[in-house]
C-alpha cells in the first residue's frame, strides 16, 4: 500500500495543469508516493500521446504512481461533461474509448468512473442526482449498467477496468450489483472512505463489501455530529475522524496489497438524514446494523465535542480549506503511512 494525492482538489491549484513536471516535483517533494488526475485530459487536453508518455516517464523517474479517472458513465448526466463529448465529436462512446486508449498507452488500466457530479447551484437533496425528480435513481442505475455493458468489449480490448467511485450519490451495494451485471474484470470500485458515510454506510462493513473489487481509492476522514434530521458529516484529515483505519486498511490490503490510498481532501458538510422517512426511502439498502454503527460513532464525536476534544464544527468549518490544506494532507499522509508501517501493509 502507498499514499498519494488527488491532483484536482487544490494541491496544485496555484500551478495549474500546464506543466506536469512542476506538479510531479511537488508531489515527490511532499513525500507522496504518487498522484491521481480526474482524467488524462489534465495532462493533455487533446490526449497527445507524446505528452502523456513523457508524463509517465517522468513519474517513473521519480518513482511515483500515476492514476487517472475516466469521467461520467451515467447517460442521464453525461451531458454535464461537454469536454468529453467534444473529444468524440458528439460520440460519447468514442470519447471514452479515446480516453481509455490514451490511459492504456501509458500503462494506466484502472480508471475511476463516476455516476454523477455534486450540484453546487442547488441545495439540500437536489445537490445529488440520486434525488432527481425527473428520473428515478433506479432508472439511472439501470442506464449506467447498460452503458458499462456497451463499453465492456472496449474495456476488455484494452485490459482496462472502470472503478466506480463510491461517490456521494451512490452506495457500495449499488456498485456491487453493477459489477455483478457487467463483470468484475471491467468494473470495479474506487473506495471513497468519506462518501460512504454520506450514504449511511459503516466504513468497516463497506470496506469488507468492496475489498475484493477495490482497485482505486479516495482517502478522507470525517467526524459525525447530530442534526435535527439525523447526523452530518464534516470532512477531516485521515486519523482525525471516525474511520477506523487500523481495521479498514488491512481489509483492503488483503485483497489488493498494491492499492494506492489517494488523498482527496476538502471541506464541507453532508447531511445523513437517518431520522427522515423520506431520506430512508431513498436508501433501500440501508441496514439497521450500519445505521446503528454510524449513530454510535456520532455519539462518540458528540461526547468529544462536548468535552472540547474536537474543535467546534462551525469554528473548524469557518477556516478556509486553503489555509489548512497542506497541514491536513501532511497529517493524513503521515497517519496512513504509519499504519501501513505498523501493520506491515507493504
Amino acid at each position: 500500500m502507498k499514499v498519494g494525492v488527488e491532483m484536482c482538489h487544490g494541491f496544485i491549484e496555484d500551478l495549474g495543469y500546464d506543466d506536469f513536471v512542476v506538479g510531479f516535483d511537488r508531489v515527490k517533494a511532499f513525500g507522496f508516493a504518487g498522484m491521481s488526475y480526474k482524467s488524462p485530459q489534465y495532462i493533455s487536453k487533446t490526449l497527445d500521446l507524446g505528452r502523456l508518455r513523457a508524463a509517465r516517464q517522468y513519474a517513473d523517474q521519480l518513482g511515483l504512481y500515476l492514476e487517472f479517472g475516466l469521467g461520467r458513465v451515467n447517460p442521464y448526466n453525461t451531458s454535464e461533461a461537454p469536454d468529453i463529448w467534444l473529444l468524440g465529436g458528439g460520440d460519447y462512446r468514442l470519447a471514452l474509448e479515446k480516453l481509455i486508449a490514451a490511459a492504456a498507452e501509458v500503462g494506466c488500466h484502472e480508471l475511476v468512473g463516476v455516476t454523477a457530479g455534486w450540484k453546487y447551484n442547488h441545495t439540500g437533496y437536489f445537490r445529488f442526482d440520486r434525488f432527481r425528480t425527473d428520473v428515478s435513481w433506479e432508472d439511472q442505475l439501470a442506464a449506467t449498467t447498460k452503458f458499462l455493458g456497451i463499453m465492456a468489449p472496449i474495456l476488455r480490448q484494452f485490459g482496462t477496468r472502470v472503478n466506480l467511485e463510491t461517490h456521494e450519490e451512490i452506495t457500495s451495494f449499488e456498485i456491487l450489483r453493477i459489477i455483478e451485471a457487467v463483470g468484475p474484470d471491467v468494473v470495479g470500485v474506487c473506495f471513497d472512505s468519506g462518501n460512504i458515510l454520506s450514504r449511511g454506510e459503516d466504513p468497516i462493513a463497506s470496506a469488507r463489501r468492496v475489498a475484493p473489487y477495490c482497485h482505486q481509492t479516495h482517502a478522507k476522514d470525517a467526524i459525525l455530529f447530530f442534526s435535527e434530521k439525523g447526523i452530518v458529516r464534516q470532512v477531516k484529515p485521515c486519523g482525525s475522524g471516525v474511520i477506523n483505519w487500523k481495521e479498514v486498511l488491512p481489509i483492503l490490503h488483503q485483497s489488493n496489497p498494491g492499492l494506492a490510498l489517494t488523498l482527496e481532501d476538502h471541506k464541507g458538510y453532508m447531511e445523513i438524514d437517518f431520522f427522515s422517512e423520506e431520506w430512508r426511502r431513498y436508501h433501500p439498502d440501508l441496514t439497521l446494523d450500519e445505521m446503528g454503527e454510524l449513530i454510535r460513532l456520532a455519539k462518540e464525536c458528540d461526547t468529544k465535542l462536548v468535552r472540547s476534544e474536537i474543535q467546534k464544527v462551525t469554528d473548524y468549518e469557518a477556516i478556509p480549506f486553503k489555509d489548512q490544506m497542506l497541514d491536513r494532507l501532511r497529517s493524513s499522509m503521515d497517519y496512513l503511512n504509519q499504519i501501513i508501517k505498523d501493520k506491515n501493509l507493504v
Binding site: P75, N77, W85, G88, R93, L94, D134, K146
Partner: protein, 346 residues
C-alpha cells in the same frame, strides 16, 4: 387559424418587449411563439409576464411558449430551467406551466431533443447518441410526461411535443396513446418530418388529429450519394404541399396557431445508407419514394426558373434575406388561409 412568428432572441437581447411586439405586429404577424417563458422573464416574475401578456392583448397578438426538455437524458443541458425549481426539475416544469396558464395559454411546446451545436452530422441529434439508445430516451420521456400528467390536468393544459429532427410520427402517436390527447398533442414541424425519412403530407396527416401548433418552414431537397440534403426555404417557396396539410390540420383544430420558424442550415438525410436506416426501424419505402419525387420537383422548380438554385441560395446571408423571407412566408400563409377560409372558429 392564426399566424405568428417564432422568436428565439434571449431575454438579455430583447430589451423592451414592447418594441419587439410592435415590430412583429407591424410586419403583419398575429402572434409570437417564444421558445421559453424565460425570454420574457428570467425568474418568471408574475408582474413582468402579466405586463407582456397585457400588451400583447392590446395589440391583438397571441403568445405561445416552449417548456424545454421533457427528456430526462437531455434535461441537464438547460440549467436555467433547473434553477426555476431550485434543483427539482418537475417543480421547474410546474412553475412554467403555471406562469403560462396565467397568460391564458392552454397549449405549450415540449421538446425531447434539439440540435447539438458543436457537433456535425448525425451526432448533432440525440437520436444517434452512443451512450444511450433512442428507445430508452423515449421511454424515459414517456415516464416523465406521465409524471407531469396530473399537473397538466390541474392547469387544464396540454404539452404539444415537437417532432423536431428526432421524433418520428409513429413514436409521437404511441406517446399520445399512453398520455391521452387531452394532455399531449403535437407541434407539427412539417419540414423536420423529412429529416427522419417521412413524407411531409403523409406524416402530417398521421399527426393532424392531435396538432395544435405548427412550425412553418419549407424545404428544397437535393439528391446526394447517401440520400438527400434538405435546404430551408420560406413557406411557399419550397416543395411542401401546404394546402393538403393545413386544411387537414384546420379540420381537427380550427384555432391552430401557425408559427413561422425560419432559418437556414442544411441537414443530410441518408436514406440510402444502411447504417442510418437501422436508426429508423419504421421507415416506409413509399414515403422515401415520395421524398425522392420531391427532390425531383425541387430540381424542376429551379429549371423552370421559379426559384433560386440551391447553391447560390445557400451562399446568401440569412440576415440579408430575413425580412423578405418572413414577409413572403406570411403572405403565402395568409393567402392560403383566405382561399380555403381557414379562419378561427369561436
Amino acid at each position: 387559424m392564426k399566424i405568428g412568428l417564432v422568436v428565439t432572441t434571449p431575454a438579455k437581447e430583447i430589451g423592451n418587449f414592447k418594441d419587439l411586439f410592435d415590430s412583429i405586429k407591424s410586419m403583419g404577424f398575429e402572434g409570437i411563439g417564444f421558445r421559453s417563458l424565460l425570454q420574457l422573464s428570467e425568474t418568471l416574475d408574475p408582474s413582468e409576464l402579466h405586463a407582456a401578456h397585457q400588451y400583447a392583448g392590446e395589440l391583438g397578438l397571441f403568445l405561445d411558449f416552449g417548456l424545454g426538455w421533457v427528456n430526462p437524458f437531455t434535461a441537464l443541458t438547460k440549467p436555467e430551467i433547473w434553477a426555476l425549481g431550485e434543483g427539482d426539475y418537475c417543480r421547474a416544469v410546474e412553475r412554467q406551466l403555471g406562469a403560462a396558464q396565467a397568460m391564458a395559454c392552454k397549449e405549450i411546446v415540449g421538446e425531447i431533443a434539439g440540435v447539438k451545436g458543436p457537433y456535425r452530422g448525425r451526432y448533432a441529434f440525440d437520436r444517434f447518441r452512443t451512450d444511450v439508445p433512442w428507445g430508452e430516451q423515449l421511454s424515459a420521456s414517456e415516464n416523465f410526461l406521465l409524471k407531469m400528467r396530473p399537473i397538466l390536468a390541474g392547469f387544464g393544459m396540454r404539452i404539444d411535443l415537437e417532432n423536431h429532427e428526432d421524433l418520428t410520427t409513429h413514436e409521437l402517436l404511441r406517446l399520445v396513446e399512453k398520455m391521452g390527447d387531452a394532455y399531449l398533442g403535437f407541434t407539427l414541424d412539417v419540414a423536420n418530418l423529412t429529416v427522419m425519412g417521412e413524407a411531409p403530407v403523409e406524416g402530417s396527416l398521421r399527426l393532424a388529429p392531435c396538432v395544435h401548433l405548427v412550425h412553418v418552414k419549407d424545404i428544397f431537397l437535393i439528391p446526394t450519394e447517401k440520400g438527400l440534403l434538405r435546404q430551408m426555404r420560406p413557406a411557399g417557396e419550397g416543395v411542401i404541399d401546404w394546402e393538403s396539410i393545413l386544411t387537414e390540420v384546420y379540420r381537427h383544430d380550427p384555432n391552430v396557431h401557425l408559427l413561422v420558424e425560419d432559418h437556414k442550415g442544411q441537414i443530410q438525410i441518408d436514406v440510402h445508407d444502411l447504417q442510418w436506416r437501422t436508426h429508423f426501424p419504421e421507415l416506409d419505402e413509399k414515403e422515401i419514394a415520395a421524398l425522392l419525387e420531391l427532390a425531383e420537383k425541387s430540381r424542376q422548380r429551379v429549371q423552370r426558373g421559379e426559384i433560386e438554385a440551391p447553391e447560390s441560395y445557400e451562399a446568401m446571408s440569412y440576415l440579408n434575406q430575413r425580412v423578405q423571407r418572413l414577409t413572403s412566408a406570411l403572405n403565402y400563409l395568409k393567402s392560403l388561409r383566405a382561399n380555403h377560409k381557414l379562419f378561427d372558429q369561436v
